[in-house]
Symmetry: D2
Subunit: 307 residues, 4 copies
């Protein structure tokens, strides 16, 4: 298939939709991003790269980072991880406290904020220190994106912390249920640092390769997790990767994917490729408007749905 | 792959688990079923059939019927159907009223009871009559299972009606929100009749073929729905097919599937086969205990996960 | 105190507020009522009567009837009644299903619809028949209002039944939790008949005397319930009598009271008098707008709050 | 009435109940309290004092303090206070986040923890400083109890802070909804200090006199709030003073009252007296078991219910 031609076709068709929706505005560092941006990148298991748009422009990966910390925690804790976080869709917005209270501090899945906080907490516990835990996170992301320069934007993470009251509320609630080992502020701070990682769509598509290839990077041959663990991460992405619109995404796109409020969406075609699309303006569910539509077009044109 | 050998291996391994859990006991017709039964059937897109256990024994298909009425309604109403029922996982038990009330009578998806009632209501409206609607449902199921003798068990449906207070509550609630066209009792009665269809695992595996083959029966070449509609039904099965354990099922099995309280679970491997497993004793989520484990083993042994 | 002068003063002051708000519009029989009506009646324990406005005009007593069936059921079942219905404020709208489902079919109190349905069901069970139960209800109301002609409006009750889907939903839900003895439709029908009782503000003020006088009618000396039961009914009126605005009513008025969507509000000053105010236009909580304000003024002018 | 005789009679009758239930155990400072203690104190508007049991033994007033900060805030902000906190019963446990999230950070009433935190926050804002705000609180309590030595127990407040994750969660949630002016930790800390006030039942009964007397201390003639404000505080006590058992308390006791997990319950008979009963072991609702029963007996014996 001529992926480059397909991406260009999508880019052309999607233009009227770019900038529609609303850029995340809860912190200045995100609200000032130009909504008129778009990128679509593919990296195949053979290492071929296809890009359109601003595919080398860095953006804040935000919740996409949850995928990477989930991978690290699953590798460390294996099944034991599921004592502290479930794998069910939440049926409620990503940062809701209702279900968390009703379910005694056990978050529904690793992709709602509460779940991601538990995952980060588990890494801090394992590495005995929040700095070491974050070092491990950043090194892992550098590894899978095959780029040792990838880093985080301290302006973003500081700004998140200044407005992070709801995440602090979630963290304290879980602490009250004994489902957080470390100081809630430390956990939230580390979490905001991982969310503030800056990456381009090309790097993120590259970083997804291990999930398209049974847990092993097909280019470097580094083994990160088992094929079974990989399938399971992909399953959780499909059922829970887009907050309260996960069903819609499975329904319209049909690929395991994960979005972030920075406007990025990553996805995998198992066995074939890593994908990243980026456009900062979000739909009402908090997922990239143009990005979601572009992925829908991609699946229609290529037939690469898993269904 | 030698599917027959794999099924026999699974049958052997699963024996200690058969009968564990609890047979549905809310109506006598279901509670009297012998829990020590098990069947596993595969029908491939080429028409090959593989069976182990009591694969020709009829059981009550119950919620599996929701898949077939969803197909009919999607064919009739297309996108308009989604004005009356969503495609998101519910995050709450299959017959909960909470979310339905909060979301103004629009059920989360076609596989929770409320959603299935709306679907059945839409068929009654289309066929102007509950008997004609049910005739259409039964004929469709006969068609896809390629067996004109398939029928429903009136003892089961009558018994359901005698204990159907919660479904009547759901139906009246949706009626109060104007999301039911017809008399709530009539809708519930028709719904219980579709649930009371009696089929064997072999027939159900056969009936799933159109969903494994883009909406067209690969053996009879009858076209039921479009490939896109098929992908979407499969996506909804994956995210919502197992009530409050849909995430677990996607996580452990990784195939689009739908369970019923009669102990049946159907699934598809897109492009390849229809599957049905049956064992009456249920786990705490209301899904067949041995059936779920058998499917998990099947995916492990064959690698046929969609992820 | 010159109650007549006070009522006239209130009538004068309240005029700009009469008709503000919205007449109940869920059934034609209620929506056609002229909103520009107002009445305020007092009957003291000594039998003195004070009236202003259309105090002899009959209106639909609606939920005020819950007070009378609660009295009858308490007399019959005593403490056992509280196994089936609580005495706590609900914190949610009067006809919500959420709490009822969460609390396993046990309604929070006798004044939300679910609670009133349980009460009516208990009367049908006691009298072995819905007609006899309703006869008892109507005779009790005739007794306490000292008027053998008081009756119900069949047009209203029939119209309620045609639009009663939510109450039918509540009744079926409780039936599914085994907290309803009789057929849900029969219970709802009887409930709608009690709600359709037609009474004037003067008759209702008269009917409240037994609650102002420890359970004994001070004029006829008939004993209905014990002083302790009376205090408890009054307490439930204070904490739960105005749906989701019960706190507001206690806060602003400070008298045990019960409202109905027909625009009536009854109240008692323990030891002193029965009160009824009526004006059909309702505030956002479903309580009479002018009626609530008039009672607030009454308490301000007389200091007759229980606090 | 011979109050002393009545109190002694109650003391005798209540003995088998003292110690039944469970002492608050979430912090060491409370869990080590001897459950076999009981006190009952009355101070009349004329200044007569009646006591039984350990009526001069100090205990942690805990949530009873919410009454005093509510008084101060109502005096400062008047009606404007109700923009930030409601007066409706919550229908859910005292520290639930569900309703708070659903209602956008506006607590239901000043007596659930969230509401009390908002009240304390409003005092910190008014006095520009948490130390000054707390100084005002402590001085007010010294004033109304007519005892300049009343103080707080720093061991209790420090211990609360160490286990205060749920209150920190509530505070951060309200901050995220912009319903907290000050730093959430500072607010929670000040709140824990007010809860850690140590007082005897006699002092608390004395402190309630202004609420039994229209806002003016009948002995010192100091005016704290208006009669109308007093009636309203009493109304909120009645409808919301005992968490999720407020209806039960109104039903069984029928007096405006407020309980604390230290085992104290204060109440007023409007126009007549301030009351405090204390016994550390709590019932399942978190209210003093023996204390609640003792008050019930008091009302039965004296007929001093407001209903």
């Amino acid at each position: 298939m001529d992926y480059q031609a397909i991406l260009e076709e999508i880019h052309e068709e999607i233009k009227p939709e770019i900038g529609r929706g609303k850029v995340a505005d809860y912190i200045p560092a995100l609200s000032s991003v130009d909504p008129q941006q778009f990128a679509f990148s593919i990296v195949t298991a053979e290492g071929e790269r296809y890009n359109v748009g601003e595919s080398d422009k860095n953006f804040s990966i935000q919740s996409i980072s949850k995928l990477f910390t989930f991978t690290l925690a699953l590798d460390i804790y294996s099944r034991d991880l599921y004592k502290r976080v479930g794998v069910e869709p939440s049926g409620t917005p990503f940062n809701s406290l209702v279900q968390l209270e009703y379910e005694q501090g056990i978050p529904r899945n690793p992709f709602i904020n509460a779940g991601a906080l538990v995952i980060t907490d588990s890494l801090i516990t394992h590495y005995h220190d929040d700095y070491k835990a974050f070092e491990r996170i950043i090194n892992f992301i550098r590894d899978i994106s095959d780029d040792p320069t990838v880093s985080f934007d301290p302006e973003v993470s500081t700004s998140e912390m200044d407005h992070g009251f709801r995440n602090l509320s979630l963290a304290h609630l879980m602490k009250s249920f004994d489902n957080l080992d470390n100081d809630p502020r430390t956990v939230v701070q580390t979490y905001f640092k991982q969310c503030a990682m800056s990456m381009s769509s090309e790097k993120l598509a590259r970083a997804m390769l291990y999930l398209a290839n049974g847990g092993t990077d097909p280019l470097t041959e580094k083994v990160y997790i088992t094929p079974q663990q990989t399938r399971r991460i992909n399953a959780v992405m499909l059922t829970c990767g887009h907050y309260d619109a996960s069903g819609e995404f499975a329904f319209h796109v049909g690929l395991p994917g994960k979005s972030g409020v920075g406007g990025g969406i990553v996805a995998v075609v198992p066995g074939k490729m890593g994908i990243c699309v980026w456009s900062p303006a979000l739909n009402k569910y908090g997922n990239s408007h143009a990005g979601t539509l572009a992925l829908e077009k991609f699946v229609e044109k290529t037939g690469l749905s898993i269904f």
